[in-house]
Amino acid sequence: MNAEPINVTGTLIRAKGEVLLSVENISLRFGGVKAITDVSFDIRKGEIRAIIGPNGAGKTSMLNCINGFYQPQEGQIVFKGERRAKMRPHRAAAGGIARTFQNVALFKGMSTLDNIMTGRTLKMKKGFFWQALRHGPAMQEEIAHRRVVEDIIDFLQIEHIRKLPVGKLPYGLQKRVELGRALAMEPELLLLDEPMAGMNLEEKEDMCRFILDVNNQFGTTIALIEHDMGVVMDLSDRVVVLEYGRKIADGTPDEVKANQKVIDAYLGVAH
């Protein structure tokens, strides 16, 4: 948690200075199909960056490139000043990138608590033999991380499902647990793939508040894909718009809203 300047009630100032991650001329193909063509944009520290676009615009592919599931054929991604050619997901995780999936990707056989605890895996250092004893240092480590996880559970208000297996939880709660799991990694960059898909209005409001709180309280930079334009306009500082794998607009919500190309491509289309 970095120290943010404190302002009067309710409003906040986000430090939006340096570029945390920049995507430079990325192109991604699957066989002959072009998923992303020559897209560049950047994500600044502390901001909420939305990626929007019609179905099949390549939004999820973009996230997959950023956290290393896909390796783009062309272009580069610079994260924290580090230019990377190839990236494996676990390396991205170690570098401070966490994400959630469009269709919840929780560990269905495990409890909420254990799911979130897996987010702490990278931070747990005690070796195999201590783990086999589960006493002394290994236990202390478990407890220390349990504390962090409990804070997250408290933050997301999911105390009541702490010990329930996630497989049977309602969808909205699963999404919340998945966010919790990502938060447990204490990421610098949080990628959210349609965090509000399939939620009812109340759940959406809750999720919006959590996203804002995460950004505000922990100073986490967030990149999100979302279909609900109202949500995007309310939440995000800047928006990048993709269509057929190409970038067609980039700017503040107001600028994007006024962009004719965007209106043609996206806003005009009922979703």
Binding site: F30, A35, G56, K59, N64, F69
Partner: protein, 357 residues
Amino acid sequence: MSDIATRPAPSLLASPLVKFGLIVAAIVVALAIGVRLDTSNTLYAIFVDPFQQMVQAPDLLVQTVWEGLVSGVLYALIALGFVLIFKASGVFNFAQGIMVVFAALTLVGLYEKGVPAFLAVIITLGVMFALAVTIERVVLRPLVNQPDIILFMATFGITYFLIGFGEALFGGNPKQMIAEQLYLPKGAVDLQILGGLVSLQKIDIAAALIASLMIAALAAFFQYTRIGRALRAVADSHKAALSVGISLNQIWVIVWFTAGIVALITGIMWGARSDVSFALEIVALKALPVLILGGFTSIPGAIVGGLIIGIGEKLGEFYWGPLVGGGIESWLAYFIALGFLLFRPQGLFGDKIIERI
């Protein structure tokens, strides 16, 4: 819905060319170092001598390949039974091997009870049909919509049940197949080729022929009959099959029965070559590497895979086996498959495996 993208299966090394080059290079280097360090000519025995033997005694090579071919045909037949069921119902039927044994035992057992040979065949077919219906009723129907692994495990249950059932009915001792009574040829054909004598068992030739005929018949069945088309449809989509007007349950009975027919034929052929015993159950496991080579859903794959495994295994056993004390037949097939898996996980004819995120 947003874009569902696909993720290429991870590969150890990006380009196949690089991969191949590296392997060749590694072998050459290993050989070079090895020969220099080699005092007891082990490397010579592995990498040079067998090939010299092949060239020097081509008749032995032909004989070995032929034997491999024949056992390959039988592997292919068992694999065929697997593929039929896997394609139509997604069940990985571990019990195919025991079905072969069971069919053969039933046939022989019936004959021993005094039933005329061909009537026994027909009754055995009836038994296999009854088995298919029973399995559908008792096992598959209650387990519909369960994960594949559960169905796989259920076929283990079928296997064990059939072993116990078969042994209880027919006893555990090996039996002689009634090859003569079924007018299967006996004896051998000796061919004078390549400066040596190659001996081909007539039964083996018959097996190869019958297997080919059966495969052709199956292909025709799938291609030209309504049920066959429905079966192919069900492999793609259960709904499509329903639209043809055949219920899923019927389809299951049909494929299991078809697999039962294949099992009976396999059992007769195999039994005619050696004898009918439960040892075949272990041999049937060889169908697994065959399937890996051929892909789980491809009939031609099953055949080609069966032949590759059969020939590879016999060659390996004959030329390299003695180096390590023999008996490598028992595991060579799996290692061939394993090697395949690492470089072509989808098999020879399988579709490219794509992971969705």
